[in-house]
């Protein structure tokens, strides 16, 4: 049964420990988490509990000190460096600070993600408007980022992360810079993306959102998994 679960997992942390060379305290300790395809997972815990490290390990931006991270059935420690870009093409990323290019408009920002992986222009012209509509920015394709509200900017970032139809979407505190009312809209977009079959992993501090959504919750504390609960809430509900 456990084996089956591992096989189906799109992300699998197998006893992962990460110690940064500059620190003595491990950022993650003996973490075992399997995330299945199409799951929506909240990663909660205080600052410094290892949430960002967790996400960076999935992208192979960091290597585990011990243990193995598997993504889409592949052991990342066995993935050669030149294949890492191909791994990242299957993972979309959204951050608290949006990370948009200020000199490009909405369309260009989203199209950038496809241009730099060499997609043909006709494909870009077809796909980008669809995604802009999907995140709810109809008619705003030619706005510049500084003409948009925080929530709208985050929608652009989500569109860029999703435009290549990734298997996994990683969101690192996507609502961290956004007021609660707008956050609900962002969550709806993420939910819509999740419903297309994309696995979503969202690190967050936002208790209200976690409580409202009732999805799987993994709580980290000092680099350890202290709770892994399906349909969980933010606080200590047990």
């Amino acid at each position: 049964m456990v084996l089956n679960r591992r096989d189906a997992a799109v992300i699998h942390f197998d006893n992962v420990t990460k110690v940064y060379s500059s620190q003595t305290r491990p950022a993650l300790q003996h973490v075992n988490v399997a995330i299945e395809k199409g799951e929506f997972l909240f990663l909660v815990g205080p600052s410094g509990s290892g949430k960002s490290t967790f996400l960076r390990l999935i992208l192979k931006e960091e290597r585990p000190s011990q243990g193995h991270v598997h993504v889409a059935g592949k052991d990342l420690s066995r993935l050669s460096n030149w294949k890492v870009p191909h791994l990242r093409r299957r993972i979309g990323c959204v951050f608290q600070d949006f990370r948009l290019l200020p000199n490009k408009n909405v369309f260009e920002n989203v199209a950038f993600a496809l241009e730099v992986i060499g997609k043909p222009r006709r494909f870009i012209g077809k796909v980008v408007p669809e995604v802009i509509d999907l995140v709810g920015l109809e008619g705003k394709a030619h706005r510049m980022p500084d003409e948009l509200s925080g929530g709208e900017q985050q929608r652009v970032a989500i569109a860029r992360a999703f435009v290549n139809r990734p298997m996994i979407l990683l969101a690192d505190e996507p609502t961290g810079n956004i007021d609660p009312a707008t956050s609900i809209g962002i969550m709806k977009v993420l939910d819509r993306i999740n419903r297309t079959g994309t696995t979503v992993v969202m690190a967050t501090h936002d208790a209200a959102i976690v409580d409202a959504f009732r999805k799987r919750v993994v709580e980290l504390e000092d680099g350890r998994v202290v709770r892994d609960q399906s349909r969980g809430v933010y606080g200590q509900a047990y």
């Binding site: 990323c93 241009e115 060499g118």
Partner: protein, 301 residues
């Protein structure tokens, strides 16, 4: 890979640190121009050397009343001495060819050789150059043996090896060539450091873009290509300026020099073009490689 996108990125990169790019272009232009000039001088010297060394002769000047050397004692050479000299020299094993040249022939030859500097010719009169035997040697390095015999003969004023005179001239040209190449080398070092700085600035300016490119899975080549091409294009523009400078140096320096001191073998445009092509390729390659090496330090992949 989409060319239009890449070129757009390069254009943005070059424009953003325009002053750096300009200084890079200038440095590369000077470096490559000096490098090319060094090559031009070298091929000119090589050409002239083979031309002259084929024609090198040892001149054995015969005594004349105007001669100041003691051996002559202010006497013209006698016919008897002359025949003795001729037969002696002819029988030397090192001598390939022996020709007698009287005062008139010598003066005509002098006029012809220095036709480029009329002032020099005008100040010389027929008779200033004495009669001589002009010897072609089988092996130019055996000069001393012949000279020793010739100096011992009665009626011989001076023995002059033309090779020695030319050697001095070629030494100057060699010096020029090495000076040009040395300054070029210093400029190349400056160019490499400038490329490094330009690329570092460029990478810093575009860290947001490259960060996103990394994140969405752009390949390393795709991320690095605009920076490397940026360097290469600056190198190319520098190389083009250098080729203009090289054409100038061909027209102003070498052609003029050839007009003054008749070099006979003129450096052809073919050589100049070859040198230009080598210089441009070297400039482009230099900048591209320098960019690539800098990127490895400043652009985390």
């Amino acid at each position: 890979m989409r060319a239009q996108f890449v070129f757009q990125e390069i254009w943005i990169g070059l424009r953003r640190n325009l002053t750096m790019t300009i200084s890079l272009v200038i440095t590369v232009a000077i470096a490559m121009a000096l490098f090319g000039t060094g090559l031009l001088i070298k091929s000119q010297v090589d050409d002239s050397k083979s031309f002259w060394y084929d024609r090198i002769e040892v001149s054995v000047y015969l005594c004349a009343k105007t001669s100041t050397t003691q051996a002559c004692n202010k006497q013209d050479v006698t016919d008897q001495q002359r025949t003795a000299i001729e037969s002696q020299l002819k029988n030397l094993p090192q001598v390939a060819d022996l020709q007698y040249e009287n005062k008139k022939q010598a003066f005509d030859r002098f006029k012809e050789r220095f036709s480029g500097s009329p002032g020099f010719v005008e100040s010389t009169r027929e008779g200033d150059i004495p009669d001589s035997y002009r010897i072609k040697l089988k092996d130019p390095s055996k000069y001393e043996e012949v000279a020793k015999v010739a100096r011992g003969l009665a009626g011989v004023d001076q023995v002059i090896n033309e090779r020695e005179i030319l050697k001095r001239f070629f030494k100057i040209m060699d010096g020029l060539q090495w000076a040009a190449l040395l300054v070029a080398l210093i400029q190349v070092v400056a160019a490499v450091l400038l490329v490094g700085n330009t690329v570092r600035l460029s990478a810093f300016n575009r860290r947001r873009e490259t960060g996103i490119m990394r994140l969405v899975g752009a390949s390393n080549t795709y991320i690095q290509m605009p920076f490397i091409l940026e360097g290469a294009i600056a190198g190319l523009i520098g190389g083009l300026f250098a080729s203009v400078l090289l054409v100038f140096s061909k027209l102003m320096l070498i052609d003029r020099l050839a007009g003054n001191v008749e070099m006979v073998s003129q450096l052809g445009w073919g050589t100049v073009i070859a040198v230009i092509i080598v210089s441009i390729c070297f400039g482009v390659l230099l900048c591209a490689v320098a960019s690539f090496l800098t990127l490895r330090r400043y652009l985390r992949i």
